[in-house]
Symmetry: C2
Subunit: 396 residues, 2 copies
């Protein structure tokens, strides 16, 4: 983490007009609660947690692949990307890596909406009474109360798990032990211990099913579109609700309509590009996970480069910008709460049907963004920053 980027002290206490809250769909946190959080966060705008550490409170941080707090859980290494404490009680997040046979038996979370994305290898996925073969890039959305589980089929399989909740990770951790090792155990028959599982149920938001890995016919994940409301579903790799904007395309893997407004997941894909204007958000947290290529980011005073597997969490109030830094870059955004989805719907042209970014750039509708600014949780401050920097440079 290069902390020498010249950044002036800047107090960001602007808040957006009330209209933005209309975009929070029912069941999300109340606008008042979000606003309170937004105000708290701006006080910490200059801090970025040192590389590879979980901050323990809500502030920007950056983790390189596989280097965070880790637990050895029944044949997998659980690498924690966010605990409730790090996200201001908004979400938790982890990668789960294991050999053939490792996984998590069928269970449900009463209060936690889960999203799964397969980063590497292959897995069997149980979801809501069905069984799927999950390949790299396949996605699943698992609302509160829906039964789900997975078991890995390749020598190294890596699953990303997003929890829109604050009590699930405690349960997963209670299944295992802290570990210093970075690598998954070798393929193995996992001996599941019902006592441990009961302890996990007491420790957090989890309830295991009677049958751990039911024998059901397994089928490939082929779904290419999002359902209309909050139901369990799978989505095939490189599918989703697609928009094109400028040189990139972005696909919603889960919209806020699929998550009761709690969050949405967007996969962006594009070529090397210019740094977008620096900006911040008052209400929502943006989490960046690099899948392919590289993402150069400015986060407050820091410049970081995300390589595949690296993660950055940018809460409300943190000034940030990014550019894609490789000819083929793919990164995921987990944005919570889901109110900022209208930005992507404003910037992008819907109905993009290709499965790869456009060979010739399309129009970028930033004009529409500017027109809609009042309804977006977005404060663009590139110009102000340049003025401040110019004044700083003159004084120096």
């Amino acid at each position: 983490m290069n902390d020498t980027y010249p950044w002036p002290v800047f107090e960001a206490d602007t808040v957006l007009p009330a209209s933005v809250y209309d975009r929070v769909v029912p069941h999300a946190e109340t606008p008042e609660a979000l606003l309170a959080k937004g105000r708290t966060i701006t006080a910490r705008i200059q801090q970025v947690t040192p590389e590879d550490r979980l901050p323990g409170h809500k502030q920007p941080y950056y983790l390189r692949a596989d280097r965070s707090e880790r637990y050895l859980v029944a044949g997998t290494v659980v690498n924690v990307l966010a605990r409730a404490a790090d996200s201001g009680d908004m979400f938790e997040m982890a990668t789960v890596t294991g050999g053939k046979g490792a996984g998590q038996p069928v269970h449900r979370h009463a209060q936690t909406h889960v999203a799964l994305y397969l980063l590497d290898g292959e897995a069997e996925l149980w979801l809501d009474g069905e069984r799927f073969v999950m390949k790299k890039g396949d996605f699943a959305s698992v609302p509160e109360g829906s039964e789900h589980g997975f078991r890995f089929c390749a020598h190294r399989t890596k699953m990303m798990v997003w929890y829109a909740g604050t009590e699930a990770l405690a349960a997963i951790r209670a299944l295992g032990e802290p570990t210093d090792c970075h690598v998954q155990p070798d393929d193995a028959e996992v001996a599941w211990d019902r006592e441990r599982m009961a302890a996990a149920e007491r420790a957090g938001d989890i309830a295991f099913a009677d049958e751990m890995f039911p024998e059901l016919p397994a089928r490939a994940i082929t779904r290419a579109t999002l359902p209309e409301d909050t139901v369990p579903y799978t989505l095939a790799a490189d599918e989703g609700r697609k928009f094109v904007g400028g040189p990139e395309y972005f696909a919603l893997l889960a919209s806020q309509e699929n998550t009761g407004g709690k969050f949405f997941v967007v996969m962006s894909q594009g070529p090397e590009s210019e740094m977008i204007p620096r900006h911040y958000h008052n209400l929502h947290t943006e989490n960046f996970f690099c899948v392919d290529g590289a993402l150069d980011m400015i986060v407050n005073r820091s410049r970081v480069t995300l390589s595949p597997g690296d993660f950055a969490s940018v809460p409300a109030g943190a000034i940030h910008a990014y550019r894609m830094a490789c000819p083929f870059t793919r990164f995921m955004g987990f944005l919570t709460p889901g109110l900022f989805q209208n930005f992507f719907e404003t910037l992008g042209e819907p109905g993009y049907e290709a499965n790869v970014y456009p060979r010739e750039p399309h129009q970028l509708r930033f004009d529409r963004v500017l027109k809609e600014l009042e309804s977006l949780d977005l404060v663009v401050i590139e110009e102000q920053m340049r003025e401040i920097e110019a004044a700083e440079a003159e004084r120096a």
Copy 2:
């Protein structure tokens, strides 16, 4: 590419005793031809080609993912990693990226041994009268004259193709046109043009089969061990002839017994590690391709970091060293001719059965390497370099 690494001018004209040539198995180039090349190369020891350029003659060079010379060939982007001119007429190499339906119809090369490794997505593979489903990490070895072809099944599939020969890439290029675009065309029915295919047959070492993509029953690639001689075969992801050495494990995906001594392919997997001692080789070229994590390299005066998809070619005479730079790093080596296989067999403990690097480091048998040094194409010069650097530092 950082070219500021302080490297003294160093003339490397040491050649190894004759015993090393005994390790070149039949059908490889003659020792005299290799020796002549070794002597030529040492004269260029200080040069490293600027990033992302093919040098046009045999010297070290470094290419970031997808940034080299590119051709649009029937629904794929062929990104050239090495032409015959860049390798001293030893090999050619490329990545082939495409959407669903793109690929190469069944063909054979009379004088070129091909190796295929699937970097991303999924493909159908035709090999020697059989049809396979090829997943990420699966490998195939295709001796001279063996029929093979592939067709992609995922929205983005990326295949690495190694040619132990000098005439195949000209044929592939003749199938298409140069392109500036970095990204594959979208999924498409590819219209194969028999006239173009005939032109390709005239341009280089290729002969197409009558039936382009024969309908055969397709099966998964499950083979876990190498055959004993030079025959076409497939190998499942993370399989091969495995050795453990220190914190890493390495697997031969193709041994020189499988290639008539022309080359071998080794996949190394390990945690973050120390820089190995600087060294050079008199006779063989080493090609490094990063699959996961990152590889820090010293190549002559340069320090480079290979991220996934990046490539470095290190011919005989180039001083080099490397370290794995991430908790989970995987890189492939294509070493040609195959005489240096005995190094891995000396350093490593054979019979490693796990599918992931060891959770506790094993012994590194460098003592055995030192004992066998006379039979290895290896000149370790770490100590000499430190003396030279110390003298330089004192003068400065």
